[in-house]
């Protein structure tokens, strides 16, 4: 198998060449272009000038950058963990046969199907101080004074996390459910014969066999969480006082202010961050063995 004729390899390259061209044109060139741009002082109203890594050095010295870095990674860790736990639970529940299962499976997808900007607006209305649903309940039940939910850094963090978990848990559930369906029932029957407890069946059969699906879901979710923009932009706009500015929002602010060089540098940093996370997941997923 290992020895291939040159002709075969050539044919193989010929067949994948359209894909390679597309990757080159639409992924590699923009990334390289952004990187080159990040080495320039490229500001709207001024002539552009090569400055090497100055943009990166300036960013690393900036406390704003580190605040948004901390916020983004903390948000990613907390929201992806919650989504994973909830996603696995929902997937396990929905795998069982019961009346109304297909109905539940369908409505579970609703949060994921709503465009993020719209669901963010819905959540914003719920958190709203004057007309919000949460404050309405506080008012009706006389449990306490109105709360300005988005008014503190901590409140805003949890407001964003909850909205994100609500929105993306269905995605996690969907992929994991597909993964669960590939696990043969015989394995569980065998385990039942051996008197394995439910927990042990989960730990030794479900989890290991679910790993490929889980890794795929985690890669997607982590990459999305690290790049999060729309939800935060609509919900808090990066406030209060810049405490919820994610790295993407920071980069966006540079672009809006016409500082394309620094904006590009921020983009490259996000790219590297996502790349590193994905790399570790693929390592942890041990894809080489399964493929």
């Amino acid at each position: 198998m290992k020895i291939k004729k040159n002709g075969e390899i050539r044919t193989a390259y010929f067949y994948i060449s359209p894909l390679l061209t597309i990757i080159l044109l639409f992924i590699l060139i923009p990334i390289v272009g952004t990187f080159i741009n990040s080495l320039y002082r490229d500001i709207t109203y001024l002539p552009s000038r090569f400055t090497g890594f100055t943009n990166y050095v300036d960013l690393i010295k900036l406390s704003d950058f580190w605040n948004s870095f901390k916020f983004t990674t903390l948000f990613t860790v907390v929201s992806v963990s919650l989504e994973t736990v909830l996603g696995i639970s929902f997937a396990l529940l929905l795998k069982e046969v019961f009346t109304g299962r297909s109905f539940l499976r369908t409505i579970l997808l609703i949060p994921w199907a709503i465009p993020t900007a719209i669901s963010a607006r819905l959540w914003q209305l719920m958190y709203n101080y004057n007309y919000g649903l949460l404050n309405y309940f506080l008012d009706v039940t006389h449990t306490g004074a109105k709360v300005n939910w988005l008014g503190t850094a901590r409140g805003a963090f949890w407001a964003i996390t909850i909205a994100d978990v609500w929105k993306t848990t269905p995605f996690m559930t969907l992929i994991l459910l597909a993964g669960l369906q590939t696990i043969p029932d015989e394995l569980y029957e065998q385990a039942m014969v051996d008197n394995a407890t439910m927990w042990k069946r989960f730990l030794y059969i479900t989890l290991p066999l679910l790993r490929p699906a889980l890794v795929v879901a985690l890669i997607f979710r982590t990459a999305d969480a690290l790049r999060i923009f729309d939800l935060v932009y609509v919900l808090t706009g990066g406030g209060p006082a810049g405490s919820t500015r994610t790295i993407s929002i920071l980069g966006f602010h540079y672009f809006v202010n016409g500082d394309f060089g620094t904006g590009s540098a921020v983009s490259i940093i996000i790219f590297l961050l996502v790349f590193i996370f994905s790399f570790f997941y693929i390592r942890a997923g041990r894809f080489k063995e399964t493929l």
Partner: protein, 424 residues
């Protein structure tokens, strides 16, 4: 041979398109009804002068409008020839050398600049002595108040100073709260966005401070009057509690207007656009009035200047036609039409005394006084970056995560650091 026909046809079309009369391109954005109105303006212009104008429609969003214009100018594109600019970009675009100085045209046609708000022309449209643009419409912050409520609690005139406003708001809020738990004394824009800079400029200037540029070109924000003003803004929310706690997270123009529209506020700081909407509200009809924003005792009240200006691209290939269009848009008749049809506040001062205007839009008479004393935000190439820094620290002070002193100190340090990048 037949196969060549399409090519011949194409060639003919190409030639005919080249020899067509030269066309003027006008880039403008705004709400759908504004764009519809611009189409009408263009038709009228065509009828009057025979010059064709092509309209390039832009989004409503101000930032997107700026990007569209800047990208075209940066690439030295021949289109657009004429465009509208927000008050804060005029300086930046002029300093890049992308605007055609209008002096020679103004002199040639004897255009009287005194017919425009002279302060606006001098502070916004002039760059190194040259006039680079002309105001199409102006905007400024106002104080809206409930006439009926002030009368109910024995006040005959609206507040002139912040101290008076505070007293009135405290008293009325306390009494009104008995029936209406959601009642607030004073609502204003405090969320982290450009609007916060506008309100801060009004508070600080009316405390005797402001956002100033010193002789070395440095932006100065950390002065005692500004600290005092910021402290007052913070106190309105947290100490006197006459402004809602979500002021610094949620309140922008529309949020503020809605609170007032629902009858839940005594005073409101907003732009003139809210006037028409409050007027249309049957529950507020004849209960609302406008006045100048208050000031600190012994100081002068201030209103932040907004609005849009028209200018000609330096890369335009039809500058004379473009100038005709600028003259048309800023003419007395058109300016009055804008006021009557779109509710815009004319950039020409003589329209405010027009008899039709006085009859149909009497509030404009008061506005004239406000615009004459409006304060402009600094006109600089890196203004938006400075604004971003300032927004963050002002908002920190309002959310109590920094003291007013700290906030302005840090803003000053950050701005000084930020500007270094622009020096060379």
């Amino acid at each position: 041979m037949r196969i060549l026909y399409p090519f011949i046809l194409f060639l003919l079309l190409f030639i005919s398109s080249c020899s067509r009369p030269r066309e003027l391109t006008f880039m403008v954005g705004g709400s759908p009804n504004e764009l519809l109105y611009w189409e009408k303006v263009i038709d009228e212009f065509h009828e009057k002068t025979g010059i064709n104008v092509k309209l390039i429609r832009q989004a409503t969003d101000t930032d997107q409008r700026r990007q569209g214009i800047v990208i075209a100018l940066r690439s030295k594109s021949r289109d657009p020839d004429v465009f509208l600019m927000d008050v804060v970009w005029v300086g930046a675009i002029a300093s890049s050398g992308w605007l055609e100085p209008l002096n020679s045209y103004i002199e040639r046609d004897n255009l009287d600049l005194n017919k425009f708000f002279s302060r606006v022309v001098n502070e916004v449209d002039r760059y190194r002595g040259n006039v680079m643009a002309l105001p199409v419409y102006v905007d400024g912050g106002l104080l809206y108040y409930r006439k009926d409520l002030l009368a109910k609690y024995g006040y005959t005139t609206p507040p002139e100073t912040w101290e008076e406003l505070l007293q009135m708001a405290k008293k009325v809020q306390a009494r009104e709260r008995r029936k209406n738990k959601n009642f607030w004394g004073f609502v204003w824009q405090g969320a982290m966005y450009e609007g916060l800079i506008c309100t801060f400029l009004e508070f600080s200037s009316s405390f005797g401070g402001g956002i100033a540029i010193d002789s070395t070109g440095r932006i100065v924000v950390n002065i005692p009057q500004n600290v005092e003003a910021l402290k007052f803004m913070q106190d309105l929310i947290h100490r006197y509690k006459i402004s809602p706690p979500n002021t610094y997270t949620e309140l922008k123009e529309e949020e503020v207007r809605l609170i007032f529209d629902e009858g839940n506020a005594l005073f409101e700081r907003n732009w003139p656009y809210a006037w028409g909407l409050h007027e249309k509200n049957p529950e507020l009809k004849d209960k609302v009035s406008i006045t100048k924003l208050p000031h600190r005792k012994g100081k002068r009240s201030a209103s932040t200047l907004g609005g849009w200006h028209i200018g000609i691209s330096r890369f335009s290939d039809v500058k004379d036609e473009a100038w005709e269009f600028v003259k048309f848009v800023t003419s007395y008749e058109k300016q009055r039409d804008f006021a009557l049809n779109l509710g815009w506040n004319p950039g020409r001062i003589d329209v405010y005394t027009d008899t039709v205007i006085e009859k149909t839009a009497p509030h404009l008479v008061l506005l004239k006084d406000v615009f004459e004393n409006a304060v402009a935000r600094p006109s600089l190439p890196y203004y938006s970056g400075v604004s971003q820094i300032l927004q963050k620290h002002l908002n920190s002070a309002l959310s109590l995560s920094e003291t007013p002193q700290e906030a302005l100190q840090k803003a000053q340090t950050d701005i000084d650091e930020f500007i270094k990048k622009y020096e060379d």
